[in-house]
């Protein structure tokens, strides 16, 4: 078990699942297909991977200022990730997390996209602000 502490956007419970790690920034509006959850952006390092129900780990958000709605629509079609884990919080992702009560934790001591690997089993505790890799 390895535990990493960060800043939680809001206490909305504990979720667990499989990590999907991206070294590239992520946009939910047009970067991810709402109807499937599949990353659609041309040239993106996780293009073709599905974010649905994953613990999504990435450096930060990007995209247009509509990205909050992009995430919201992904959530409404039930294709959103279970949690957002970032090095730096893009304020649009904070807005999305608040709007949908999705756990979001950011600002760790080390680069979280290096410490977590795709496929790791992860527990996210949004009250404690912790991300745990389960052995």
């Amino acid at each position: 078990m390895k535990v990493f502490k960060g800043k939680s956007v809001k206490a909305v419970g504990v979720v667990e699942g499989e990590a999907l790690v991206s070294k590239d920034l992520i946009a939910y509006w047009a970067g991810v297909d709402w109807e499937t959850g599949i990353v659609a952006e041309i040239g993106h390092c996780i293009k073709g991977k599905n974010v649905k129900d994953k613990i999504l780990v990435y450096p930060s958000g990007k995209g247009g200022a509509g990205d909050t709605y992009g995430y919201y629509y992904l959530f409404r079609t039930k294709n959103a990730p279970k949690a957002m884990i970032c090095n730096r919080a893009n304020s649009l992702n904070i807005g999305a997390a608040l709007l949908t009560d999705t756990p979001m934790i950011y600002d760790f001591d080390d680069d979280i996209t290096d410490t977590i690997k795709t496929g790791d089993h992860i527990i996210v505790d949004s009250a404690a602000g912790t991300v745990t890799i389960v052995d």
């Binding site: 800043k7 956007v9 809001k10 590239d24 920034l25 946009a27 047009a30 970067g31 659609a40 952006e41 041309i42 040239g43 450096p59 930060s60 958000g61 990007k62 995209g63 247009g64 200022a65 509509g66 990205d67 909050t68 709605y69 919201y72 629509y73 409404r76 090095n87 730096r88 919080a89 893009n90 304020s91 649009l92 904070i94 807005g95 997390a97 608040l98 709007l99 979001m104």
Partner: protein, 425 residues
Amino acid sequence: MKLNEQQQAMLDGKLGLSCKKAMEVLVQMGEAANAEEMIPVSFVHMMPPDIMFFPYGRTGRWAKDMTDELLADVKSFRVPVTLDPMFCNIAVADTLQFPPETKEEIEQIQMSAMKRYEALGATPNYSALAFYTRDGRLGDHACVADSTPIIFYNSIYGTRTERDDGIKALAAAITGYVPKTGVHITENRRAEVVIRVSEELDFTKFCDSDWDVFGLAVSRKCKEKRPVFANLPKMEFTELKHMLAVMAVMAGLPLVHIVGQTPEAPTLEAALQGKEPLAEYVIGVTDMDKARAVYNTTDSDALDFVLMGCPHLTMKEIKEVADELRGKKLAAGVKLVAVTTKELYNQANDMGYVQDIIDAGGEITYQMCIAFAGTQVSGAVLTNSGKGAYWYTGFGAKEKNRTVRLASTRLCARSAVIGKVVEKL
């Protein structure tokens, strides 16, 4: 978070239900980002989902749900407000292949939303180039929703705004406040990485869309780290628009510095606030080639649509389109839609440019989002905008069987006349 008397009264519901909900949103956003206090904003640029974000069908209903709740008992906004574009100017809805029933629904939802915001005191500019309506002041605080004016106000004017979304902007317009987070704070405006351009790049040969490609190449290096450009040539407004619009989306940045050209970067040291950069990147020809490939999903020269105006065309761009089209006709089967602000449209009309475009069989309209509405079309699209290309390639490109290519404003217009994508003037 510390709240003053007025902010606390808002939170307690003493100034109405909407004000209470808006303050709750702002407090939550502030706490999520370690804010200690709220700051008053001088103005708000709003991006209402019921005006801009696919206002029909499912997304139309969701957008209305979201805004109805926040606007329940608002009588007027507390600060000056400008508005982002409407989704589609109905004048070009048929050309953009909207079926009649969708067109009706769009008109109904977006027009009633527009009336509602205007009645609350919003200025009906309907453009991301909000600084044409209200310019920025160095060190002033604002709340801006739309990535293009966000990066423009911060970088070019030194006006401080986070990457705000439609909901936060609505809450700020209702209350007059935002939490003091991110680039509202001086130390968070410090440049983190230095961008140098290689001597390989000859800027004198750059066309406007080369700045989109350059913006993407830089974005792929700096990612979320705020950059300072150490050695860019003096850029004019249209070039800045092309570069910054792309960086705003592809790096998700609120702010960049350009030494000698932006107000917080008189020198490299000033932009870095006396600290060492985390990294230095050099942008060369290979970076440009890789970025260019992202914007072209085909090398076929087939052409069905030329879509321009994301963000809205500047007068320089409108003139270039008119110069290319004057006295000519668009090739059979090719459609051209150009979009600008209402003010520039009227001026271009006075100058005869609008007539030049119409006489050639093209269409020019105003105050709409050609990036989002343009995702309705099927076929081969050519655009002068990297930001536009991002939506055209990302949004239903497969279902609509849509290909995308990027070219300069002049080449876009010339291609429409010739009937296929031409690569050189």
